[in-house]
Symmetry: C2
């Protein structure tokens, strides 16, 4: 059993809850990740069970959770596709189904909502550990019950999980109140550079190599900064530019809906989702900023070629 590469709260919480739930029914389960678990999620109950090693004797049945296409299994894809039975449990709307059986419900806010429903249907008695994982899954994928996918089913499932022993405050503290001081300082260095296009629709912030040094920060400390950029009133696109050690510029993009930033990032050799994407540009920083901000701005104006014109 596995989930997608670069897993987040919904992927890991769903995988762990399904592992613990099926084990409680007497099944033998091997939860496997293509890459080591991101340390941010190590607090989730059962996280120590996750390995990057497939069992020497492969099981008869595989389950992939929250994978929008089998390619999202990463290096595990060939092994999973070779299993006699492979079940695809997902909530993405793309239609990239796979496996010998699939249960894809795009009305679900999170894969965790489906796993909760499945385990309930199987008669699993939810333990606090299962409940904590499923609350984390639904809570993170709905942006803490904020995004447009926040539906009654997600909220009712979360209510059942709290009743079963989930502790939302521990998830909150571990995911949102556990930032290294250098990362918080780096966020400061970024936000103070905030600029907007004249029409206020594109906002961006920049991190020079000097800013990383001033904050005592690593490249990985940029996590979460783009989310702060997107808190600006009235914007459609938020971008964070971070100068890398080799002089290239890593850009993270967020959209509130009008622009498909995955398409924009693709024009610069990157990729992602319509509302969250990234790409790497050649330096120096001012030129990279001008190019990508200009392309984002043109995409908003709906000019011919929009983001693609900058290719």
């Amino acid at each position: 059993m596995s989930t997608h590469v670069n897993p987040e709260g919904d992927a890991i919480g769903s995988l762990l809850a399904l592992t613990l739930g099926l084990e409680s029914l007497g099944m033998t389960v091997y939860p496997v990740l293509a890459e080591p678990l991101p340390p941010l999620y190590a607090f989730l109950p059962g996280a120590e069970r996750l390995t990057t090693t497939l069992p020497s004797t492969l099981p008869d049945l595989g389950i992939a959770v929250d994978c929008d296409g089998s390619g999202r299994l990463g290096s595990l894809e060939p092994a999973f596709l070779g299993l006699p039975e492979l079940v695809d449990i997902d909530h993405h709307a793309s239609g990239r189904r796979f496996g010998t059986a699939h249960w894809v419900d795009p009305r679900a806010a999170a894969a965790g909502e489906l796993v909760e429903s499945l385990l309930r249907g199987l008669g699993v008695r939810f333990t606090p550990d299962m409940a904590q994982n499923l609350y984390a899954a639904i809570y993170t994928d709905t942006g803490r019950f904020s995004y447009s996918n926040t539906g009654p089913r997600a909220l009712n499932a979360a209510a059942r999980m709290v009743r079963a022993g989930a502790q939302p405050v521990l998830i909150f503290r571990n995911l949102y109140e556990s930032r290294p001081p250098a990362a918080v300082r780096l966020q400061g260095e970024a936000l103070r550079t905030l600029q907007l296009t004249d029409d206020g629709l594109v906002a961006w912030a920049v991190l020079t190599r000097e800013a990383f040094a001033a904050a005592g920060a690593e490249r990985t400390d940029t996590e979460g900064i783009i989310e702060a950029v997107r808190t600006v009133r009235g914007i459609e696109v938020g971008i964070l530019f971070a100068e890398q050690a080799d002089g290239t510029i890593r850009a993270s993009l967020r959209s509130r809906g009008r622009v498909d930033v995955a398409r924009l990032a693709l024009a610069f050799g990157g990729g992602g989702h319509p509302r969250a994407a990234g790409c790497t540009l050649p330096g120096p920083l001012p030129e990279a900023t001008a190019r990508l901000v200009g392309a984002a701005h043109r995409a908003l104006q709906g000019e011919p070629g929009d983001g693609m014109a900058a290719h």
Copy 2:
């Protein structure tokens, strides 16, 4: 009908939902605030109904929502206490009840949870406007379903409100993604100054008058910055120091539980709640910082006199 001074999402959302709900039953309702509505909440449906003027003929019945003691009604207190009947609907645990009838349930995560239950009991058919206000009330008072007060009742009530037409994403955008650019820049100026005590238990950030000028920010743009300070891993107390135009230093304090920052602030002539408080100190900034950080640190060590020793 009114709520407390310095009202936040739970106060205003509960007041507006109760107004709309009772009106739907044919009652005449006057929702009044002691001071003008904070602009942040003007997007809530029915907010235009709120005034600071009592009706010329006072009604027979008053309702106070989310008021921890009648003093929280501010300048409206005398008028409300003079009404023939006054109902106190609240969820604070202090025991400061008042009025001719009271319904105080500290197990409720938010006053909005009580109002939802009341209106449901009265047979009100929830409109999307009522639902939006109640979702906002419960969502904000649970920290977006993150704090330890997040219970199954709050989540189930929120689920009913989404079913009745609440749109969480609009609340999220208006409350958390509508910051003026200058306020975001000011947050940057603050966070880059982040410091911690050697034991990592107290974190603080400072805003000089120069920082306000560099960000092009007003004094009111500090809102939300202390919440960013408290995202630092492992801290118990977070403090934001902001130099005022007159040279005094405004300090905002947050605690994760071990220290009662209201008591700490009181020692410096301020006040607040055990986990969120504020005070104003004489300048200059370095001395003010040293005094309050020192007092917070001593309070954590449990030294004799803790916060009070600095009085």
